[in-house]
Symmetry: C2
Subunit: 148 residues, 2 copies
């Protein structure tokens, strides 16, 4: 995400915190920023690695708790993907994922045509709010390895 967009999201975040009376701590700001700035989908531990250099004495526990808060606020998404650890995504707009079934790598896909899907409003009482398409296959690197 480019620097301008990151700044904008951070501003919105501050406003949101004030609205809800949520204390705006250094940890929350920096952790959110780290998620926004990472292009891949970092695990809690990867976020910790980045932020711990900026905040002395930062605890892993805090990273987990803050990430949870961000998810609840709706400014970050929890990602469910093949690796053991849960991943996080600063993008909350509609987008999709290519998942390599061999190396578990995940890359974003934005396809205008893919976003036009008409999700059923309801299915047996279930209220559908949004959707994500997971394309499963084999990435370029793994294809080369397999062919060799």
């Amino acid at each position: 995400m480019n620097q301008a967009a990151v700044q904008r999201r951070l501003q919105q975040f501050e406003t949101l915190c004030r609205q809800r009376g949520l204390p705006l701590t250094v940890q929350r700001r920096d952790i959110f920023q780290a998620v926004l700035q990472s292009d891949d989908h970092p695990s809690a531990d990867q976020v910790y690695d980045v932020v711990k250099d900026r905040i002395a004495g930062l605890s892993r526990t805090t990273v987990y708790r803050v990430l949870d808060t961000l998810v609840q606020l709706g400014v970050v998404r929890r990602l469910h993907h093949p690796g053991a650890a849960v991943r996080f995504d600063g993008r909350v707009d509609r987008h999709h994922h290519l998942v390599c079934r061999l190396c578990d790598q995940v890359v974003d896909v934005t396809g205008r045509d893919l976003d036009r899907l008409k999700p059923p409003r309801q299915r047996g009482g279930f209220l559908v709010e949004d959707y994500t398409i997971q394309f499963v296959g084999v990435c370029a690197a793994c294809r080369e390895e397999t062919e060799a």
Copy 2:
């Protein structure tokens, strides 16, 4: 899955094992059957709970290893969903999921129209083989609770 379908899948499984020279053990048969018979998407531990009553002295380790084998054989799918533990799905045909973002419950959706999506054959060297759509929203039970 109905009993007839379960039997059919088990037969295919036996054949597949013989073809590949994979020893067909009681554990593999029973664990596969348990996954097929469960309508939700059980975690390894839930599978263990079901099968341990049928096989005395069954080890959790074995459940994990057998599930892994089944995934590699392609007869079971690994599910990546909000709960901490990995889930498994005996269905390997194209189908989609409704995920409740409040209680993390997952239900299957089969929509003929949803299966007609033309996935891009390739995206930057990535070979797309199949896809799954995850609809995110709120389930009926959670909607009632929220409204109350």
